[in-house]
Symmetry: D2
Subunit: 335 residues, 4 copies
């Protein structure tokens, strides 16, 4: 049993706490939230103790590992504390909205062998992971083109949008990581374009975009296309497609059930897509915990780590620069 403390009891922290409590090889070592009642609620349901502070979790001998699900601007500090305390850590993405801060964090933790896993949960989705496995198994031959469709069901609350760091750092970053995961080699060139179509007034005000296309290319010429929208009213649209010399692998959307209706006007009418990430990536969140537990048990580096978090942010910065300059950005232009 790996005893994991959960820091942050917002929506995603609570989900992680429940998953850990129910996990056959993990136990919930305790929870913390700066808003005490949030932690107390989780404690009441699970029986796990409440820590008085994040520090308390890092120093507790009853804590084998820590999951960071606090506000984004605390991630890097807590990550550094975890590494200093020698506690393996599963950190929600992003590490930080500032690439500078991430680079400083990288410098601080350099040389440490403490397992760090980044919360790019989609890598653990059974369908998306099966695309990657199909490539590794040679089922589609040499990879040529990747298409990632990633659309949220609707705009987040305006208050969130304002502090999100913008769609590239907040939403696209997941797809940039997915592109790296599927491509299997590093991206060298980035092109992006953004539009303000869903909520033009808000986007104008924030200098943000709600509709984005990103085109990535590797040194060998492999292409990855990401299409993002903040609003797909038919549900959380999450597809990954990989074309190779021998075929195509396609991870399609999921619905809450498989009932379809057929009438004189239509056939095949099904439910809207699973909505939102907690439902859509339920199995992935479980598998993410399992992967973390295995890495901690084995004392080895998780399959998705700090540098993956940093590189996804580098690509997001390149994409922002590409939008600004209407040209292809070489990744080496960003540091």
């Amino acid at each position: 049993m790996i005893r994991i403390a959960v820091l942050g009891c917002g929506r995603i922290g609570v989900m992680h706490a429940n998953n850990i409590a129910a996990h056959p090889r993990a136990a919930l070592a305790g929870v913390f939230d700066i808003h005490a009642p949030a932690a107390a609620t989780v404690s009441a349901k699970t029986g796990a103790p409440v820590f008085a502070s994040a520090e308390a979790a890092f120093t507790s001998p009853d804590v084998d590992a820590v999951l960071i699900a606090t506000a984004t601007d605390t991630h890097a500090d807590l990550l550094e504390m975890a590494v200093a305390a020698g506690k393996p850590v599963l950190c929600e993405k992003p590490i930080d909205l500032s690439l500078d801060r991430v680079n400083r964090c990288a410098a601080v933790i350099a040389g440490s062998s403490v397992p760090i896993q980044l919360g790019f949960v989609r890598r653990f989705d059974p369908g998306h992971a099966a695309v990657r496995r199909a490539i590794e198994a040679g089922d589609i031959g040499d990879l040529h083109q990747v298409v990632i469709t990633s659309r949220d069901p609707g705009m987040p609350p305006p208050a969130y949008t304002a502090v999100s760091g913008g769609i590239l750092r907040d939403m696209t970053i997941h797809d940039l990581d997915m592109a790296r995961f599927i491509l299997g080699e590093e991206v060298t060139e980035v092109f992006a374009t953004g539009s303000r179509l869903v909520d033009p007034a808000l986007m104008d005000k924030l200098g943000d975009y709600d509709t984005v296309t990103v085109v990535l290319k590797t040194a060998s010429g492999k292409q990855a296309i990401i299409n993002n929208s903040r609003q797909a009213v038919y549900g959380y649209d999450q597809r990954v497609e990989a074309l190779g010399t021998k075929g195509m692998a396609l991870s399609e959307n999921r619905r809450p059930h498989q009932m379809s209706l057929h009438t004189a006007e239509f056939t095949d009418r099904a439910e809207p897509l699973l909505n939102f990430f907690i439902e859509r990536y339920r199995e992935a969140f479980d598998a993410e915990i399992s992967a973390f537990v295995e890495a901690v048990e084995a004392g080895r580096a998780p399959s998705v780590g700090f540098e993956d978090g940093r590189l996804a942010l580098v690509l997001a910065e390149a994409a922002l620069k590409s939008i600004a300059e209407a040209r292809v950005i070489a990744v080496k232009e960003i540091v």
Copy 2:
């Protein structure tokens, strides 16, 4: 080029005439219909001559083969004439609504080697035929269970229904032949049940059914289930499913195109099914002509012949007896 005369210029005869005219290895030798203007219209479009009588087609040296698409009660007579004239014949189903008449026809043509093909067009449907091929290729192992869903889009005109011979002889007969085609061995037991649900008043009046289930069994225990309805408002529902020791083969429905709509209320909303048989079995009608042409060219028996037509009617009679007596009927009870 096989020169084929078409007898009967109703909806299905006209379709056959056009298909023959456009066929790369067939030519339309001429047409006949007791209603002269119907034949004249086909002639005008295709340039093929009009025969003064069915006899004229049978005696013409410019006719290599004959397609019978006249009224059902003339099929057996014309079939006998074709055989007497030595003209290969493609005869629309059914041979006759009376098993007695069919048996007498069988006696008349016994011993002849004139190629006779029965118009069980669905055997030539690319999807249904692929189910049969999958079985023959061993893809699903030993066959255990067949499920045939066969539902018309809506009730035929009452005038047609009254002379159709009833749903078993008119509609189910196609599925009984499909069951024999897929099973690959003879049916020995028949159970059927009928309901009056779509148009109870008319069905009561005619002593007919609009909703039917038939269960067939072979000597080795293989099962085939047919479900029929006269009314599937979502279109012409035509599915064939075969379960075996190594898997299942499934021939699914077809739609006019593959556009689907996804909104906040639903996903995957597609068009109603192709409606009706001329659209749904377009490729099958083409392939049926090709198979006939090949048989005539080779001077060999077509893959689906007179005895298949007779045996499907025997099963229909058995099913009617089963409905009447609420018990399993051994096929040998019908002769």
Copy 3:
């Protein structure tokens, strides 16, 4: 919080215990198994106490309700004890393999208002339940025909098969209940036929069948068709289809994920179906507990109760008689 004791810690009991422990409105009050280590294992993971006997659960003031997941031949006794103790009960199907015993149990508990829920879990499957809801909402008009495809992935262990009561009482019984659930009116006539195709030697020895078709009819003429096989190598095949005057509702199969492979030889190649019931009906098992909790909280009869369990067994008996006599059995012939 409804505190539920789980009796029986076999595969399905353990699953129920975990679901109850994780349920937001239920708590696991304790567990019991005649094989003590089985109960101890569940206790260790969940922290719930072990009862020394089934009786101890019924008499405990810390138990609000009981879930019976013990061996089939103990169900009726425990059910009677639960009712005598006034404890609401969720009882796994079947109540008993003997209709006599079930009828005696019915007499014993007659007049009690203790909530009894039968474990026909498929009624709670989101897809199948959506078919029922579509009918109730009028989406498909008046119901005419129901088709239930229900095939296990493979033969159970021979030892289980020998004591299962036969495919009709063990496996088809779920589909008989589903037919009643979807039909929404009582079945009056039953036809069934059985074959020995998957494991003829074993079936001969046991007098059982591995491949079964059942046709049900209501007084108004509605038809339901069940096709069963003990072996669908492509996975646990669970489909429910309902045809009505205005359309069709179709609950389709589910796969572990939505990745498909497309190559020069094929397209759309997907994973085998979810296998087996614990995976396929995961959401349904959760919803079943929720429904039970709500019924207990409200002190009202669950939506699926003792009489549903009895009537499904009556239909199974009628089907067995139909196989034996090769004729339609009126349900009133069975009492």
Copy 4:
């Protein structure tokens, strides 16, 4: 009956000739090919006369309209002759590989009211056209993003590739027109990137690409993404997707039939996609002729005309410039 002459009896010309001959409201007025036997073969099958020259078709009083399916470098000349002769013309794409030549042709025919239809056949595909109709009907609200997947089954013969004008002018041009058709407003910005992955040696030699991504944007910010590959071994991959404020419309691929195979290793295994354009766009080629016939009958401009052909080439030139300069090209930079 509109009497149409077909110029050019290569693969696509022969197909058009057969379609016209079978069309209920068109007749094949005659055929011409610089390679006389090619024209003779079509004449033998259809009975239509052979013209001694293209000029003969333009001057014949028995020709109501002309279809140009000759070599690309003759299109503009023949188009100008058709307009001079006052014969409505359906011209296969592209008008010419040189934008200069196209612009000169535009000047020559300026002011003429002779109906000219460009052979962008995909606009007539029932599925793709249904996407456009869904947008026009308001079914998906305001359009935001279009995704066009367009992949050939395999590389064309090297001899063809060498004279094709490159993937952008030869293959992508269809998708550029589709983007304009679906977007419903003019493209103002173009980004493209190309890779040499399928046949790098040949592509290097020709200075061409086999894998291309194009991103288009309109003045209002609508985005369209095209992904092209010269090699999709699973068949001719042709999809069109449109995302709007109220939903998504998706035109999916088509298969030769709907048979799927399900075994212990997989489910849903279907046939490769229809291959190639003559099969995939069969209905579209028919509908294209119908649309032309209607325009000629009505004496009005076809729905897709000369300027559409010119603008698609302008976008192709912009895309080529974007590849060369690794930046967004404003369409107004190309004239």
